[in-house]
Symmetry: C2
Subunit: 196 residues, 2 copies
DNA sequence: ATGGACACGTGATAC
DNA sequence: TGTATCACGTGTCCA
């Protein structure tokens, strides 16, 4: 820098000829740096609000902060997945049969939710037998006399309706009380929590 | 830049005297810019992994990306809060009474989980009456014959034990089956979902 | 040509 | 001292 003769200031003996060009260049440079500062401020503002959201992130490097942010997002992702999984595995008060095929594979996700009764497992097995469907995974959760069964079944997509029919039959026979397992109180026994 | 005579190269006629200083300066400047580039790369790497985590963020500005990241974190935080709240408001199969005072305030969080029966509300009210405790909030969730009641009570901390005794008495009278509401099956009816 | 977004090199500063 | 980070101004490309 010290070796430059007139890097920024124009020589005194010529002013008018290139003065206009110099002025325009200086103005452009000024607005350019100002715009760049505004951009930096926007980024740093978001970084600052991220610091408030992440615990113990004061005194952290920018890169370290962002690293903890990615960890935080991934952790929350995992928690959400587990929460939704455990929620979907819990029986509700609503009798239902859900058939779900996805991923273009030959795996069918089936779930049934109904009142529990001793013979249910046997009936379920009998209902699935004629479909020649092999059960890949099974998860059964029972709470307070209600039962929720989630299956992953290897079967052709054409069997979806048959499967749904078979499971729905179990629902109906459950509601008729024909099993003699004992009729439970018919009053509403589920209230959604009052919000706040 | 063009006005500088020898901004980076030393003049040919003097080499030895300040050459050492110039070399050290050049080396320092090089390592400096290299270190700075490494720092930028680290930050941009985290930014890049954040882009993979946030949907539809491929064509986004850096500042816009970070903005969406803060939104994402806030949303997930809210979802986690609601999920944990709705989870804690669901009755489990375990009879329990929980008393919890926090925040150094005079608010006591109390919860009871037991079999449901018609007179439970009245018994609860009767149990709370002698404590002269005013109920600030009440949230009752009932599922499959089980009930979970969460209260926020304004009472002195000294009453915690009395409150716990009163609520535990309700648990015991529930277990004795003296209410004649009907004895439910004693076989285990709750299985935790098989992991994975 | 005008402004936006990015990477770069540099001075300042803290440990 | 060197070795980190940060903000700044600039060059450059793109719409």
């Amino acid at each position: 820098m010290e070796n430059c003769y007139w890097p920024h200031d124009a020589p005194p003996w010529l002013l008018s000829p290139a003065a206009a060009a110099d002025d325009r260049a200086a103005s452009a440079s000024r607005s350019h740096s100002e715009a760049e500062k505004r951009r930096r401020d926007r980024i740093n503002a978001q970084l600052s609000t991220l610091r408030k959201l992440i615990p113990k992130s004061e005194k952290m490097d920018k890169a370290a902060l962002l690293g903890h942010v990615v960890d935080h997002v991934k952790e929350q992702r995992q928690r959400a997945k587990e929460a939704s999984k455990s929620s979907s595995s819990m029986p509700s008060e609503i009798d239902e049969v859900i058939i779900d095929q996805h991923h273009e594979s030959e795996h069918i996700k089936a779930s049934i939710c109904c009142d529990d009764r001793p013979e249910l497992f046997a009936e379920l097995k009998a209902a699935l037998k004629p479909l020649e469907a092999t059960i890949l995974e099974a998860e059964v959760t029972s709470l307070g006399g209600r039962i929720k069964a989630n299956f992953i079944i290897s079967a052709a997509m054409a069997n979806q309706h048959t499967l749904k029919m078979a499971l729905t039959r179990l629902l109906i026979s459950s509601g008729s009380g024909s099993s003699g397992y004992g009729t439970r109180s018919k009053r509403q026994r589920f209230f959604y929590p009052t919000s706040r």
